[in-house]
């Protein structure tokens, strides 16, 4: 009897012909060539339904929901990620980056600020925050984070190059030059440094 009820319920749902329910979407070529928001939402729903153990994935799901213009679901995913790993600077950075990429500046700055409070010694998270902010032209904020990073590790030449590249992409050539020179002074005999510099200048010509 219960099986028959379930079958009727399923049939009536399948017969609605509306947008597929999460988990029931047919992820074929036609689906992926269709509406972008529907794809974003369905893939993020699917990822969440698999109960991700890693808070970083939850934060990324949140970003996908923001791209699908579903702010409530994004906030829920961000909240869950933050609850799970409240002191992980990389999770906090992913949440802030999600806001930043979709134009929520104040939410983003608040999110980046949490890194400095809760995981202030996480060099990677602090320098990635600086790079994110530089890339969107928030140069003063970016330099503040990079300054903090430099206090944590004054020899981080690879991070200096990454930050310089972000400044270059944002059209800040003079400021980028400062960080490239800083890296070159630290490692004047490091082949990888010069290779990376040649790569950066070869690849970013179009933005100069």
């Amino acid at each position: 009897m219960r099986a028959a009820l379930l079958l009727f319920a399923t049939l009536s749902l399948a017969g609605q012909g509306a947008a597929p329910l999460p988990g029931l979407a047919s992820f074929d070529e036609a689906f992926f060539a269709g509406d972008r928001r529907a794809i974003l939402e369905a893939c993020a729903d699917k990822a969440r339904s698999l109960k991700p153990k890693d808070a970083k994935y939850l934060a990324e799901c949140g970003r996908a929901y923001l791209a699908a213009l579903d702010k409530p679901k994004a906030e829920a995913a961000f909240r869950e990620a933050e609850l799970r790993e409240p002191k992980d600077g990389l999770v906090l950075r992913l949440i802030a980056q999600g806001w930043l990429k979709h134009g929520y500046k104040s939410e983003a700055l608040e999110g980046y600020g949490k890194i400095l409070v809760r995981d202030p010694k996480n060099k990677e998270a602090v320098s990635l925050a600086a790079v994110d902010l530089a890339e969107v032209g928030l140069v003063n904020e970016a330099e503040r984070y990079m300054g903090t990073m430099t206090l944590l590790d004054k020899d981080a030449w690879e991070r200096f190059l990454q930050f310089g590249r972000a400044l270059l992409v944002a059209g800040q050539r003079k400021k980028a030059a400062t960080w490239f020179a800083r890296a070159a002074i630290l490692k004047p005999n490091e082949e990888k440094l010069f290779l990376e510099l040649s790569r950066i200048f070869a690849e970013t010509q179009s933005v100069m």
């Binding site: 992820f27 974003l40 791209a67 020179a181 010509q205």
Partner: protein, 200 residues
């Protein structure tokens, strides 16, 4: 005698002093100066040699570039990625024939390098050679249809070139390869969120 000659050659470059002012100069010359400098330090790694070649090509120094490519090929003749990097350099320099020759060499000399094939297919697509990219990606997929990461990588590149149908084909293949993998669903969602641009 040879070390002395090497030192004499190196001194003027090392004394150039790449300071802040230098880094504000002409990007093409900077790319070549940095490649020159890097080459002087340890010119043995084939991939790095291929990348120096790319910087020389950007700077318009074709002879130096070809020397680097030749040295790279001699150093690691059967490394698919070396041939791919050479192809990328030619693509960036707008030399399609030379690029396709390097791609052909890659497939002949390292015929099972599915990851390098995928990366090369992405490079071809990024430089507008969609048909060649599709053919190469198909070959990579035949080598391992269960590799969802490669499908996503190529689909992402198709999205950023506004090739929605090609992207759909590869995302669909990725979901068929590993439907229970949360990272895969996340990666597809983020590919659409970013319109295919590469994350860092």
């Amino acid at each position: 005698m040879r070390p002395l000659a090497f030192c004499l050659l190196a001194l003027p470059l090392l004394s150039q002093g790449l300071d802040e002012g230098a880094f504000r100069g002409d990007p093409k010359h900077l790319a070549a100066a940095c490649a020159d400098r890097a080459r002087l330090l340890r010119p043995k790694d084939a991939k790095m040699l291929a990348e120096y070649g790319r910087s020389f090509l950007v700077a318009g120094e074709r002879t130096k570039a070809e020397e680097c490519f030749q040295a790279a090929r001699l150093e690691s003749p059967k490394d698919a990625d070396v041939h791919r990097l050479i192809a990328v350099a030619w693509l960036r320099g707008g030399q399609r024939t030379e690029a396709l020759k390097a791609i052909a060499d890659m497939q002949t000399l390292d015929p099972k390098a599915k990851n390098a094939f995928t990366r090369a297919a992405v490079n071809l697509q990024d430089f507008g050679l969609a048909k060649e990219a599709d053919t190469l990606m198909e070959r990579a997929w035949i080598l391992d249809p269960s590799d969802w990461q490669n499908c996503i990588f190529f689909g992402r590149a198709a999205l950023r070139k506004a090739r929605r149908e090609a992207a759909a084909k590869w995302f669909s293949r990725a979901t068929q390869a590993k439907p229970t993998e949360e990272r895969m669903w996340n990666a597809v969602a983020l590919a659409y969120a970013d319109n295919g641009t590469e994350p860092h």
